[in-house]
Amino acid sequence: MNSNVLGHSPRRKESLDKVTGKVMYGNDYNSPRMLHGALKTSPHAFAKIKGIHKEDAEKMPGVKAVLTGQDLKENIGLYLCDKPPIARNVARHYGEVVAVVIADSLAKAREAADAVKVEYEKMDPILSPKEALKAEAAVIHEEMATYSHIKPIHPEPGSNVANRSKIRKGDVKKAFDEAAFVVETNMVIPPGDHVAMEPRVSIVEIKSTGEVHITSSTQAPFVVKNLMCHFFGLHPGKVVVTAPMVGGGFGGKAGIQLEGLAYLMSLKVGGRPVKLVNSREQDLLASPGHIGLESNVKIASDEKGKLLGMDLTYCFNSGAYADYAVNISRAAAISCTGPYNVPNVKCDSMCVYTNMPFATAYRGFGHIEMAFGIERALDELADKLQMDPVELRKLNCIKEGDQTPVQSVMNSSTGDLETCFTRVEEMLGGNLGDVETINEEWVRAKGVSGLWKAPAMPTNTDAGAILTFNGDGSCNLNTGVVEIGQGTKTGVAQIVADTLDIPLEKVHVVMDVDTRTSPSDWATAASRGLFMAGLAAHEACVDAIEQIKEVASAVLRVSKSDLVVKDERVCSVDEPSIGLHLSEVALGYVYPNGNAFYGQIIGRGRYIAKHLTDIDQETGKGHPDLEWTLGAEGVEAEVNLKTGQYKIVKAVCCIDVGKVINPDLALGQIVGGMAMGMGYTTMEGFKLNDRGQVTNGSLRDYKIMRYGDHPEYKVEFLETPQLDGPHGARGLGEQAVIGMPGAIGNALSRAIGKGLYEIPITSERLYKKLMEVSH
């Protein structure tokens, strides 16, 4: 054990490269050999493509080829195979790719893309799940019945429902019949974007051997590899995906994005390397963003506030394609009640197509949307009960032994949510129900929210780690986790340094992921990187230690069981002077006479999720939830009652992460998540006109928080160990976004004495609510 590593905050492994501008992201790789791709996108939200005139573009200098949907027969889809790489016959959302140009420079490609002329026949777009679910609504995917899909999702052909997940636990009708109090709320959240600072990019080359080499800004190189094989009939050994440093993911780079299209473009030009990079505008609209939700939440409680039942309808707004959205609606069903013990639950969670930009995974994966409805409704229930909002939540916190909505049992790793609420209340200074007058215009109010999340991932989700060694006894750590800013590479290196008991500087990290040389790793998503790769790395260390001891045992003539590895040495447990430096065994031991023995040490570690099952189609019963992270958040807001302007002055979070491996990195994830959740709640989301055209499709108009807009942050960690996690740690990357909409919505609703149900809560929306005549 290296006591100086775990629980400490050494600097990130890639720090110096990042502050000197030397770190390379996908778009930083250039070569004169490369051809460049450009996208032509649809100006209409829903239109038949009547004809495409590409002759002018094809004749332009430097242009190698122009591809349209007609040229490509394959569909691509993560879970439901619904998306042509280029719109075929119909454009289903504003900004959808309708043609691509390949040219010898990006400028020429983009100029030619402008010259491609497309004839459309406009149709009336469907711009909300509510409209899409109407019986008379146009069907956005008429061919749905022909789409292949994975088993756990249940599309409903002939409708706009791409997936429906059901939870049926206990007897909801009885619960509501017997309830002393019932609240019902309807919430709306629009789709929006991740706004990772790095726009997506893919570079694809097809070698003469048939090998397909892909360099991509991806969180999921192995997903890309597997899907490329699946959709294009490639051999898995011949697809090599490299993920260099990624400039922020937040879920937006977790599926398959530009890779398929870039492959088809390379194929068109004889395998030459083609780079396809999004402009910011295309990254917002042609590539997927985050999901929207319309929810109906009904909660029943007894006269003391004990929750009896929840009746929930979640209509997720997936936009034009399903991508991850069909699993997001499923994940929201699995955790549909929020972190509360609810004996009777009915939930219908649907993934609904609309003609809006389509959605993929986003930090929180359905939980941020779900939690807004639950937490706002809980505050309304507290009002009805005339009960303190924190007390109500504490009374109903989910605990060890309680059943989740899918009837899995919370085990002894369950975090201490009640204490999280206590700490949040204290950090906010108590008196949660009060509205404090600051002056004649401004008031101050607070709001809280609970949060929970379990990863929603395949039942066989895996990770691996390989440790090789250098002549000085240092080691090289190779995992399949992509560095997207979360710092997992450094966290896993800390686990290795601790387990091998060597200085962290002697753990060298392979930064880029290469699917041919890195061990398999499902994806850098679902907050499971440190958890799974950490466990794999720990196992790799144990494996290496075994080998080190085997060499030392022979050389030192000490039995393996009497050997320990510590301080960069392997030595006899009772007589440390009998030992070898790791440098003497790392590449095989060499006797003074030149004889060599054993060879290099190679540590191997693996992880695969255990005992996971899918959920039952009719009842939701199952065990899809590997580990739950629980926590509570709160905000203090100041509101101008004359104008509706407001500011979040304080944001707090207490979260039970099992074990803090690196406090700075952990804090960074939590604070970053809170900031993202604040932006999401207060200013983000796509704005559309009535023709379905997005009117804030650039960073001039799609606002995210800036320096100086942030509040004071306070974060505390609890450490109820995750018994099967690395050193007790569990996931924490996404969780902090989840509680922000609820906490902010509750604080602002309390401040104005009226309920807010729609995100983003702009000043104008607040003002209009203030002006509404109460019923």
Partner: protein
């Protein structure tokens, strides 16, 4: 990355610049004057401006000058917003200029560019109008100085190959200008209302950006103002119908905010006995 080619010219004096523009107009070549470039570059990239020639006025060195004597301040059109804001004799305008764009942008965004641009905000014109500034226009005949208020009617009225050379502002370090700006959510954004106000000796200036489709302003004579029972209602009456409805805010909300800021401004002015 700009995908459309254009030619770049950097004339060194007014005559060269005007001759060039006149020539392009005759040839029907789409040419634009260029200063800071923040707007032109972004419009060309997006394809909303299709220029075949860019005439960079930064070669005319006098247009980058800023200086003051006892009576007047001269600000060349190529002076950046940060330079102008940091120039002591322009202290009264500082609060307005510092709210435009962001600090980095203001290093390149020029005062001439802000006022002559295509964007509907053009906030820098408000303090100039409020200061009774003259605009110096360069044309084929050389320089001519006019009252800015005579040339500005929703936008600057320039003809032929004319361009703005600079501004001459009556020097008055004592001016207190009111400037409050409201955005839909965060400060680095276009305004949904930027109210600029100033009491001159016998009249009141009210200027608005972000409220209507273009900057709007009025001078109110003190005599008239003093007769009003409910000055705020009267003032709102003068502007309310111009309020625009867009993604950032509705018209009704804009009018409400105008009322709010007018109350704030007139209340504050009374306190300051302006």
């Amino acid at each position: 990355m700009i995908s459309i080619d254009f030619d770049y010219y950097k004339p060194e004096n007014i005559q060269e610049a005007c001759d060039l523009m006149a020539r392009f107009k005759t040839e029907k070549t789409n040419a634009v004057y260029y200063a800071g470039g923040t707007e032109v570059v972004s419009f060309i990239r997006k394809g909303t401006l299709k220029a075949k020639a860019v005439i960079d006025l930064k070669g005319i060195e006098e247009m980058a000058e800023i200086h003051a004597n006892e009576d007047h301040v001269f600000v060349g059109a190529n002076v950046s917003l940060n330079q102008a804001a940091d120039f002591k004799p322009l202290e009264p305008m500082k609060a307005v200029l510092n709210k435009i764009g962001d600090r980095t942008i203001r290093n390149t965004l020029t005062i001439g560019g802000n006022i002559c641009g295509k964007l509907p905000y053009r906030e820098a014109i408000l303090p100039l109008l409020a200061s009774d500034a003259n605009v110096i226009i360069a044309g084929e005949e050389g320089l001519s100085e006019k009252k800015l208020s005579e040339v500005f009617d929703m936008r600057l009225k320039l003809s032929g190959s004319e361009f703005v050379y600079g501004f001459s502002i009556p020097r008055n370090d004592q001016i207190k200008m009111y400037s409050k700006r409201i955005q839909s959510d965060i400060p680095i954004d276009y305004p949904i209302l930027h109210l600029v106000g100033r009491w001159a000796e016998d009249r009141l200036f009210i200027g608005l950006s972000g409220f209507a489709g273009v900057p709007r302003y009025q001078w109110i004579e003190k005599d008239e103002f003093d007769q009003w029972q409910t000055p705020i209602d009267k003032l709102i009456g003068k502007f309310a119908s111009m309020a625009k409805e867009d993604d950032r805010a509705g018209a009704e909300y804009r009018v409400h905010l105008l009322e709010y800021l007018l109350e704030d401004m007139l209340g504050g002015m009374e306190n300051d006995q302006l």
